[in-house]
């Protein structure tokens, strides 16, 4: 029998109970739409966290002195890079590099008289395009000047919690290169809002030269931070900048924990995806089984006319395929619509964003189009739906024609 005719009989079979067929197709469509939207959003959250970490903390490539300790800050000369400007210039000469600049990290304590908070102080080259996003995130006052000897840029959220404003003077204490505590007053020149609440609460910026003089590091820096046009070039740039006495890191090395967390989270979401797909599959199997029960006699007629078991099996599978395909197409459309909505409007996490541990998530997170992931979901939804319809199809194919014909 021609496959075309089997498809036609399968299609006609579905049209006899249009409402049931429609709702089954809708169940597939909504299930897949939910998965696509959810995965688009989760993908957006993960990518946002990674991008924020790269943008605000790690850059795409870092060059540090070979002895710089892992996981903590040090301002001892042996741990710092001696001529960071030369390395930055060498990096800037590479076409893959968008920006490169030295940075000095200090641990500091800020006291207001009422309370003290531990902070990370970033001494930055304020003229580098590396810090354009920070410049754009100033919400009050002004950005820093390279020659400013007392100005700092503070997170708006930290200033609010400490009751501080632009123009206020705050004392900072740090341990200098000699291991001695030093204290100096600084004036809040401006407030920033990076969109990452954790970051806005714990980081303070000052010009690199002032940070170096505050910590007595000379012209040394903790690292040279490099931003690339394409993050895929990180390995190439890191290799090019490698030299004795230095160690280079790519964004993958520097965000290993975040990437591991993302993998773990994706594993969890794959489990959730599997559960939703299974539910959809059970709905399809149930519908088809009902449809088979309803027309046992008709299947008996087809068998009496000479339709073979394989053809009956295929006929039911084709019905499943039509429902699943229609559901997948509608589901993709609805899902993409959902993802599009969330790419435009985002989802305000607010305080929830601060509970994401080491993942610097923005307080408004947008979904992301992830074509590979969406294709994977659509294909699996279709395949699992077909797999689930094997039982009803097998049931139909195994019907004895003589018994089926006498079923009312």
């Amino acid at each position: 029998m021609t496959r075309t005719k089997l498809w036609m009989i399968a299609y006609r079979g579905l049209t006899r109970n249009r409402r049931r067929t429609f709702f089954t197709m809708l169940a597939v469509a909504l299930g897949l739409a939910l998965l696509i939207t959810l995965n688009g959003y989760i993908s957006g959250v993960m990518e946002d966290g990674l991008q924020n970490s790269i943008r605000l903390q790690t850059g795409h490539v870092q060059v540090r002195a070979a002895g710089y300790p892992d996981g903590k800050h040090s301002v001892q000369w042996k741990d710092l890079i001696e001529r960071p400007e030369e390395i930055a210039a060498q990096a800037m000469a590479m076409p893959e590099v968008r920006a490169a600049a030295p940075i000095l990290w200090l641990d500091a304590v800020l006291s207001t008289g009422e309370e003290s908070v531990g902070l990370q102080v970033y001494g930055i080259d304020v003229n580098s395009p590396l810090h354009d996003p920070l410049r754009a995130s100033v919400i009050a006052g002004a950005f820093l000047e390279a020659t400013d000897r007392s100005g700092v840029l503070m997170g708006g959220r930290l200033a609010q919690s400490l009751n501080l404003k632009v123009g206020d003077t705050v004392p900072l204490v740090t341990i200098n290169a000699n291991g001695e505590p030093v204290e100096a007053p600084f004036v809040i020149r401006g407030l920033f809002s990076s969109g990452v609440l954790v970051y806005d609460e714990s980081v303070l910026f000052m010009p690199l030269a002032r940070a170096q003089s505050f910590a007595l590091t000379g012209n040394r820096a903790s690292a040279v931070m490099i931003e690339l046009h394409r993050r895929e070039d990180a390995d190439k740039v890191a290799v090019a900048l490698a030299q004795p006495g230095l160690q280079t890191f790519t964004w993958r090395d520097l965000n290993a924990f975040i990437l591991q967390s993302m993998d773990a989270a994706f594993s969890f979401y794959i489990l959730m995806d599997a559960i939703v797909i299974m539910i959809v599959a059970v709905i399809i199997a149930n519908t088809l089984l009902m449809a088979v029960f309803e027309r046992v006699r008709e299947i008996g007629i087809l068998a009496a006319l000479g339709m073979k078991r394989l053809e009956i099996l295929l006929m039911v599978l084709y019905e499943a395929a039509i429902i699943a395909l229609a559901g997948v197409v509608v589901g993709i459309a609805l899902g993409l619509l959902g993802v599009f909505f969330l790419t435009q409007n985002g989802f305000v996490l607010g305080e929830m964003a601060t509970t994401a541990g080491n993942l610097p998530i923005s307080n408004v997170v947008y979904a992301r189009f992830a074509p590979d992931l969406f294709t994977w979901l659509a294909v699996w939804t279709f395949l699992i739906a077909l797999l689930a319809s094997l039982y009803p199809a097998w049931f139909a194919a195994r019907l004895e024609p003589v018994r089926a014909l006498h079923t009312e």
């Binding site: 029998m1 008709e298 007629i301 087809l302 009496a304 000479g306 073979k308 014909l405």
Partner: protein, 245 residues
């Protein structure tokens, strides 16, 4: 040579603890071009016999030969192959596929048999014309009367030019006029095509048309009237007073 040979056919149905003997040693032959009726009261085994002849069911014991081939031990697909190529069925409740129109219902056996598109169309239209339904080809079963539905079923049974058409109570759900019309059509097609027709019935209207009647009682052949040549049968229909056999 007979087209169907039955040797000592036995069939017992078991429903729970209860055993019902449907056929008890039936042996019969059917020749090409026959127009015969298997008659008997309800439960006499007529439908079971028809189903065994049509490869829809298997006997518990005995041998069924179809066109000189032993079909008793064939598997499900081999029996389906025979049903699709050499046996036509007509059922009491018409048994049309409700989602297909008259044309598609008649075309279905040809599709199953793998007949090419052009020949399929010609033969389908020819059969629908032969049963007087050329103007109803795109009507679905629920848009046709009972008589028209049975005519579609007759066309569907004959379209593949089978050796034999097995009809189970073909007039049971038809009024007198439609029943007569259906029988006349089948008789005409039997004469024109040479396809054998075997009916299972207790309807006197069918018996009146049959050229041979086999009486089944309690699963056994009680009477087996000799076949009447086609010419004699036609004459007896034209002159009902003459003895038939």
């Amino acid at each position: 040579m007979p087209i169907i040979e039955l040797f000592d056919i036995h069939k017992t149905y078991r429903i729970g603890e209860v055993e019902t003997r449907a056929l008890d040693g039936v042996s019969l032959n059917f020749e090409p071009g026959e127009f015969s009726a298997i008659v008997g009261p309800s439960g006499s085994g007529k439908t079971t016999l028809l189903q065994i002849m049509g490869c829809l069911d298997r006997p518990d014991r005995g041998i069924v030969k179809l066109d000189d081939r032993d079909v008793t031990r064939l598997n499900a697909d081999q029996r389906a192959e025979l049903r699709r190529n050499v046996i036509g069925f007509i059922f009491q409740f018409f048994a049309l596929i409700p989602v297909l129109d008259a044309y598609e219902n008649v075309e279905l056996p040809l599709l199953l048999a793998g007949v090419g598109a052009r020949e399929r169309r010609e033969r389908t239209l020819e059969m629908l014309e032969a049963v007087g339904l050329s103007d109803r080809i795109h009507h679905r079963p629920n848009q046709l009367s009972g008589g028209q539905q049975q005519r579609v079923a007759i066309a569907r049974a004959l379209v593949k030019r089978p050796l034999v058409v097995l009809a189970d109570e073909p007039t049971a759900n038809l009024d007198t006029a439609n029943g007569e019309q259906a029988m006349e059509i089948m008789q005409r097609l039997n004469e024109q095509t040479g396809t054998a027709f075997i009916f299972a019935t207790h309807d006197p209207r069918v018996m009146k048309f049959a050229r041979r009647t086999i009486h089944l009682v309690d699963g056994r052949v009680a009477e087996n009237h000799a076949p009447v040549p086609v010419e004699a049968a036609v004459r007896s229909l034209s002159h009902p007073g003459e003895p038939r056999a």
